[in-house]
Amino acid sequence: MNKVLLEIQGLRKQYGIVEVLKGVDCTMQEGEVISIIGSSGSGKTTMLRCINMLEEFQGGHIRLEGEEIGYEHNGSSRKRKSEKDIARQRALTGMAFQQFNLFPHMTAAQNIMLGLVKVKKMPRDEARAVAEKWLDRVGLASRADHYPGQLSGGQQQRVAIARAIAMSPRLMLFDEVTSALDPELVGEVLQVIKGLAADGMSMLLVTHEMRFAYEVSSRVIFMNQGVICEEGNPKEMFVKPKTERLAEFLKTSSFN
């Protein structure tokens, strides 16, 4: 019944001589919520960024709904797809960043409308309506015409999530979206993500919030030194880790 949404095969990525991803394999069904955990430098953020082609990768395949992401393969050789093609593929996935990355010269609504108007060629008034709908969803209907500088960190991150989700992506990527926030603002952002999960949105989250990963994910992936070290159901993984490494990692990260 479930359909494969994302397929990653033998993903390799290196910076110069340093290999950060050493062959990652992973399959994701539609509607799944997967948290990727692991210490810094384990390659989890890099993997997320490869899916959106914000990082080039040197080997392996990423397929989204069966479509090859980023590169044209021809036997053993491969060629980077055209900038236009890649832009279209990027619009299939939405991404929320650690640093929000809202466009500071545009209001909350304009931030959301930009992609709708320029990429989806939506008329402005229609785009405005979509923007307002999503701002309402993240609880910021009254802030539509505020600039990012006039919003708190948590509010900015909610706008950034609305900006990504408004493009109706097939898959949402969250890259440590709460790491730059003051502790008291983390909750409101996680609440929004939980709401999206409840709607059946397919999501891939890189996070340090173990409690949240435990609650929201259908599956957890533990990465270590560029490979997937352990994966499974959060209830089993957090309570009875199979590998020494995960047990070690869980001990040092605050899970309470």
Partner: protein, 220 residues
């Protein structure tokens, strides 16, 4: 000193001076506009990773910035015809000042581009914008806001450079002032009024830039 100030002759020629000032402003406006377009393209070239794009841009900026503008003005007007490029006084001066401003503005813009966080480009890419769309909708407007404070002094100095047009007899403010000086012998008065007009115009330009800065600054 035996010299009494008498502004009567200069007041009589005030129209002439003001017409000159108008021409100075016109020259500056057109040249800076063209120069800004050149400067923007060159600034993007300067931050390009590809050496074949970057090096010619860097060479252009270095060469122009190290040449006296008067040499360029004379070259364009007196030497280019030898190569078959015959331009009128105004056209040749505007061409020179545009190319000259292009180099200076490119430097200013480059600094502005470098101050834009990489994450904004990534956010643009993530919603499916092409690199060109990102440059147009996000990077360029933000860059302009960033550079407005330093743009002010560049614009003012380029406006002052229009005085060099006097060297090829373009009837702008300095040329007119010199003419009145020679005709009326009211030397001190002429130059007081002429430089007063320059100073006043520069202050107005600076004030306008400050207003633009305030109006365009990103709200916080």
């Amino acid at each position: 000193m035996g010299y009494t100030l008498n502004f009567a002759a200069v007041w009589r020629s005030l129209d002439q001076l003001l017409e000159g000032l108008l021409l100075s402003l016109g020259l500056a406006f057109v040249s800076i506009l063209i120069g800004a377009a050149i400067g923007l393209l060159v600034a993007f070239a300067l931050i390009a990773k590809n050496g074949w794009i970057k090096r010619p841009a860097a060479a252009y900026v270095t060469v122009i910035r190290n040449l006296p503008i008067l040499v360029l003005v004379l070259f364009a007007y007196f030497a280019l015809p030898q190569m078959g490029v015959r331009l009128g006084k105004l056209e040749s001066f505007v061409a020179v000042l545009s190319i000259y401003s292009g180099a200076y503005l490119a430097e200013v813009f480059r600094a502005g581009l470098l101050s834009i966080p990489k994450g904004l480009t990534e956010a643009g890419l993530a919603i499916g914008l092409t690199p060109l769309q990102i440059r147009i909708s996000i990077i360029t407007p933000l860059m302009f806001r960033n550079v407005l404070p330093s743009l002010s002094s560049t614009v003012i100095s380029l406006f002052k450079d229009t005085s060099l047009a006097a060297a090829i007899a373009v009837p702008e403010l300095t040329f007119e002032a010199r003419k009145i000086n020679v005709e009326s012998f009211r030397v001190i008065e002429t130059w007081i009024v002429a430089s007063g007009l320059y100073v006043a115009t520069c202050s107005v330009l600076a004030a306008l830039m400050r207003v633009a800065e305030r109006r365009l600054s990103v709200p916080r």
